[in-house]
Amino acid sequence: MIKLLRVDHRLLHGQVAFSWKNAVEADCILIACDAVMKDDLRKTSIKLAKPSGVKLVIKNMDDAVNAINSGVTDKYKLLTVVESIKDAERLCKECNINKLNLGGTKATAETRNISKAVNITPAEETILKGLCESGVDVTIQMVPEDSPVNVKKVL
């Protein structure tokens, strides 16, 4: 079962690896990302960030959706990380996930800063609004120690 679905443009790194794994007591980390599958160097850095005692699975979006829906992942306590809000939307919709954690997104020229580490484009804002309307609980929380902020407050 999915313990946490998280958006983090850096996917897996120290913060996620150590604190979230412990906070949600995950035993498997699923990285769902098309780009990483094509880049062994990024894959390597994700592997490097993997904390001990968890399984790490990296899949592209299609495979990740299939795996989750097929039930093979049910036996794991999954920490799922995607790269973008768009990817998160797809997982939420296709895999019936109703809770989403926003960890960090990259700041670019088109983005607006809505928290310490989260920056969203107008398109992403629309997606987030849609998710909220469809009943997904979207919160901003970089690390478990932070208090969660409901995204509705900053949209």
Binding site: Q15, F18, K38, D40, L41, L48, P51, S115, A117
Partner: protein
């Protein structure tokens, strides 16, 4: 500013950097705006302080400089620098054809003798008639006057002693002067030529006709500068005269010892033959253009006439050349059409015409015509053969400095030689000399052809013959050129010898024949020229790395097989080593080794032997870094089969296998693999070639200075599919495969990317590189890898800050932190911290106003650690204007704790 600009231009002019005086460069160097510079320059030109040269771009010459160098000028604007400089009247020796070439030494001697302090020394010019002794004497005088060696009022007085041969008394009287009534007809005092030449030069031509009676008086004068006039033995006269003697006869035979003793300097003037072709053309041009001026028309001559004037023996030297030209002009004068005078063979003077007919079977005077003006192009500037040599060396220098590819270099050199030869054929001199060379060259190339299968056309033999003729004619110049560049030429030769042994072998053989046939010294530059030329003809560089030698017992068995095979193949492939019948293996190997030393670098050596144990032979060979293929029972068909394979660049093993299969006889072959392959690291990633290339560039950037390990990439699927059959394993020594997935290859180790990054001094990886890096370099390599890998991550994560700079600062801070904490962080921890903190810094910069919770518990518990981080990151914080919040310290602490 005006002074500054003038001074700048003067300084440039003095250094002869005339092209440095453009507006742009003046503006740049003096930091004055261009428009200002232009205004000032134009003003200075108007004020006659500068001369403008309207080249592109304009440049400016200082008038002060021109005056100082006494270069005359009329206008303030010239179209080109050449116009300004060539507009000059030629002065003294500048008028002399060959002053920089065949007469350079002569001119130097004349200058030195006439200006020898305090009053110059007497000199004797010795040379056959018509070589220009009088002219040189006159020019020496002019030079001395121009240089202020003798005063402006000093005169040049010329006396031809042969005119007085029958009347020595008259000569004495004319030279020394006489008083009234000294002899019959002396109606008044005459001060004499010596007095006339006071402070000047007295030129005594044909001095061997000077009779003894006259000489005595002259000796006294030469020794003390005093003399009596004829008929007055009382009064001493004084005159300060520099004496130049000249003779056409051998001075040691015809001049009195007492006279010779008084002439310290004998200067020999070369005859026309010795002056070389190009100078002869220049002389022809000068003489003809004088006639053009005189006749006020254009002159053209048939190429036969040109050749006759150029080639014929002229015992009368330049004098004869001049009179021949003049008689040509006179004889053709009535054929003048429309201001154009055409000279045909029949206008040549009889003696020349006879030479022409004697040398040629049929003479048709119907080919092209040469205009006098065109002659200029044939001699202008440096002599062609020297130009060729200069180009060859310049190209070699460029190759050494810029490390261009060897084949490019050869192609360029080839081109120079080819062009030069083409030019020679185009100019096609016809002379008995060239004919003589041509016959020799043909003979030599017949030998070479049977030996090396090298084909050469008649035109090419003619070109080579002309080249030899040039060498012969320009021998003086060539020799002095060579002595100046000897070392460089030898270097070039060395290089060619190492890289192209076939071409070198052929050229050496050609040169050896030429040397014995023509008795010419073959300078290394000549050998190099032939190498370029032969390389040209052979047109096959693929062979250069392969050597094949037939080794057989018997007087000429091996040579016969090799010759036959080369001839059939139409190419030089085989060398031969003939072995006496009862030779022991050691001597044979010694012979073979001597051959190997000579051929230089090869990658493949084919040994075709008649009998004997194969092992015995290859074991003692001095050959490194080459595969040796050895086969026994050699015969002509076998040599042909193998030669054909070599020619078609077939791989060694299959050549030998095929040969054995084709002949089904009982013989054996053996390949001894000696060739060292270049070590490489092979990157191959399952996710595609893109990642592999990234990995490659990361590795390359991480090698410490001076490490030139090559990194290659290969598609993962190809690696799996073809395994070691991939070309890269054929060509290189693959140290290890680096990637994400182990291809599981036998005896090629695999290193995963994460191992490479995580492991300090990378454990396994270490052993593959220990031959190429010492420990210090390995440690640096390790550090660089970590750094570059982190950087590639950070690049993806950062938007605003410069990743490379930020990483460097953070990495430094972490180095400091390690010292404070007293713990060495693992690579994994470093990597995590680098990326984390770099991202943190950018996050802090982006959202400056965000609020952070204070983790007071942590602060109290880990006061020391917080202090360490604060101190270590002080510079980074200051630089980016951020504060690392305490709640972030917790994460950093966790990284370190998990180290």
């Amino acid at each position: 500013m005006i002074e500054k600009i003038l001074a700048y231009i003067l300084a440039r002019c003095i250094n002869s950097e005339f092209d440095q005086t453009t507006v742009a460069l003046i503006s740049e160097n003096l930091k004055i705006s261009r428009s200002q510079v232009s205004v000032v320059l134009n003003k200075l030109v108007k004020e006659n302080k500068l001369i403008r040269i309207e080249s592109k771009p304009f440049c400016f010459i200082s008038v002060e400089y021109l005056k100082e160098k006494s270069i005359p000028f009329k206008d303030s604007v010239y179209a080109s620098l050449d116009d300004l400089l060539t507009n000059q009247e030629k002065k003294d020796f500048e008028k002399l054809v060959g002053m920089n070439h065949s007469l350079a030494q002569t001119v130097k001697q004349c200058k030195a003798t006439i200006s020898y302090p305090p009053n110059g020394l007497p000199m004797l010019l010795y040379g056959p008639t018509g070589t220009g002794k009088s002219l040189i004497a006159k020019l020496t005088y002019e030079w001395a006057r121009n240089q202020g060696v003798i005063s402006k009022d000093g005169q040049f007085v010329q006396v031809n002693c042969s005119e007085y041969a029958n009347n020595p008394e008259l000569l004495t009287a004319n030279l020394f002067g006489h008083v009234k009534g000294a002899f019959t007809g002396a109606e008044k005092d005459n001060e004499g030529l010596i007095a006339l030449a006071d402070n000047g030069v007295l030129f005594l031509d044909e001095v061997h006709e000077l009779k003894a009676e006259c000489q005595e008086k002259l000796f006294l004068f030469m020794d003390q500068g005093i003399y009596h006039r004829v008929g007055d033995n009382e009064k001493w006269y004084k005159s300060n005269v520099r004496i130049v003697f000249a003779t056409t006869e051998n001075p040691d035979k015809v001049l009195l010892k007492t006279l010779m003793r008084r002439i310290p300097m004998t200067i020999t003037i070369p005859n026309l033959e010795q002056r070389g072709t190009q100078e002869r053309i220049e002389l022809l041009y000068n003489i003809f253009s004088q006639e053009e001026k005189r006749l006020d028309c254009q002159i053209k001559m048939s190429s036969k006439v040109y050749n006759a004037l150029l080639q014929s023996k002229m015992p009368g030297n330049i004098g004869q050349l001049k009179s021949s030209v003049q008689s040509c002009c006179i004889n053709s004068l009535f054929d003048k059409v429309n201001d154009e005078l055409v000279i045909h063979l029949d206008s040549l003077p009889k003696d020349l015409l006879q030479q022409v007919y004697a040398n040629q079977k049929t003479v048709l005077d119907d080919d092209e015509y040469i205009y006098v003006d065109d002659l200029q192009g044939y001699y202008n500037g440096t002599k062609e053969i020297l130009q060729l040599n200069d180009s060859l060396l310049a190209c070699y220098r460029k190759y050494k400095e810029e490390h261009t590819s060897l084949s490019d270099f050869m192609a360029k050199e080839k081109n120079y030689v080819q062009k030069y030869f083409d030019n020679l054929i185009f100019r096609k001199k016809e002379s008995s000399q060239v004919d003589y060379y041509n016959r020799g060259v043909q003979h030599i190339f017949n030998l070479i052809e049977s030996r090396y299968g090298l084909k050469i056309t008649n035109n090419e033999t003619l070109a080579i013959a002309s080249y030899l003729d040039e060498i012969h004619h320009e021998y003086h110049d060539l020799r002095s050129w060579f002595l100046k560049h000897e070392e460089e030429c030898d270097d070039l030769y060395q290089l060619l010898q190492e890289e192209f042994f076939r071409a070198t072998n052929v050229s050496l053989e050609i040169c050896t024949y030429l040397k014995s046939y023509l008795e010419m010294d073959m300078y290394s530059i000549i050998i190099c020229t032939f190498i370029f030329y032969v390389y040209n003809v052979q047109k096959d560089s693929r062979l250069s790395q392969k050597a094949a030698v037939v080794l057989s017992h018997g007087f000429s068995t091996a040579s016969s097989i090799a010759d036959a095979a080369n001839r059939f193949l139409g190419q030089y492939i085989f060398d031969a080593l003939d072995m006496p019948l009862y030779i022991d293996t050691a001597t044979m190997i010694e012979k073979l080794n001597r051959y190997l030393d000579r051929i230089g670098k090869v990658k493949e050596l084919y040994l075709l032997v008649d009998m004997g144990s194969l092992e015995d032979i290859y074991k003692g060979l001095h050959i490194e870094n080459a595969n040796i293929g050895i086969i026994n029972n050699v015969s002509t068909p076998i040599a042909l089969e193998i030669g054909n394979g070599i020619r078609n660049n077939v791989e060694m093993e299959s050549i030998l296998q095929k040969t054995i299969d084709a002949f089904r006889v009982n013989f054996a072959y053996h390949i001894e693999k000696h060739q060292q392959k270049q070590p490489v690291i092979l990157c191959s990633c399952a996710s595609g070639l893109g990642t592999a290339k990234k990995l490659k560039s990361m590795l390359e950037q991480s090698f410490p200075d001076g490490i030139n390990l090559d990194v290659k990439t290969l598609n993962y699927s190809e690696l799996i599919e073809l395994g070691k059959k991939n070309n890269v394993f054929e060509e290189y020594d693959v140290l290890c495969v680096l990637g994400t997935l182990d291809p599981n290859m036998e005896d090629i180790p695999f290193v995963g990317i994460e191992d490479l990054i995580i492991e300090d001094t990378f454990g396994d990886f270490n052993q593959y590189f220990k031959d190429y890096m010492d420990e210090e370099q390995l440690a640096l390599f390790d550090k660089n890898i970590l750094h570059n890998f982190s950087l590639s991550n950070i690049m993806n994560a950062l938007t605003i800050l410069n990743p490379a700079k930020l990483l460097e600062q953070v990495a430094n801070a972490i180095d400091v932190l390690q010292k404070y904490v007293g713990v060495r962080f693992s690579n994994r921890t470093c990597f995590g911290l680098y990326v984390h903190i770099c991202c943190l810094i950018e996050r802090l910069v982006v959202s400056r106003n965000a609020e952070y919770d204070l983790s007071l518990d942590f602060l109290n518990e880990h006061k020391d650690f917080v202090d360490y981080v604060k101190k270590a990151f002080k510079q980074v914080e200051d630089f980016y204007g951020v504060d690392i919040p305490t709640e972030e310290m917790v994460h950093i602490y966790n990284y370190v704790k998990n180290n």
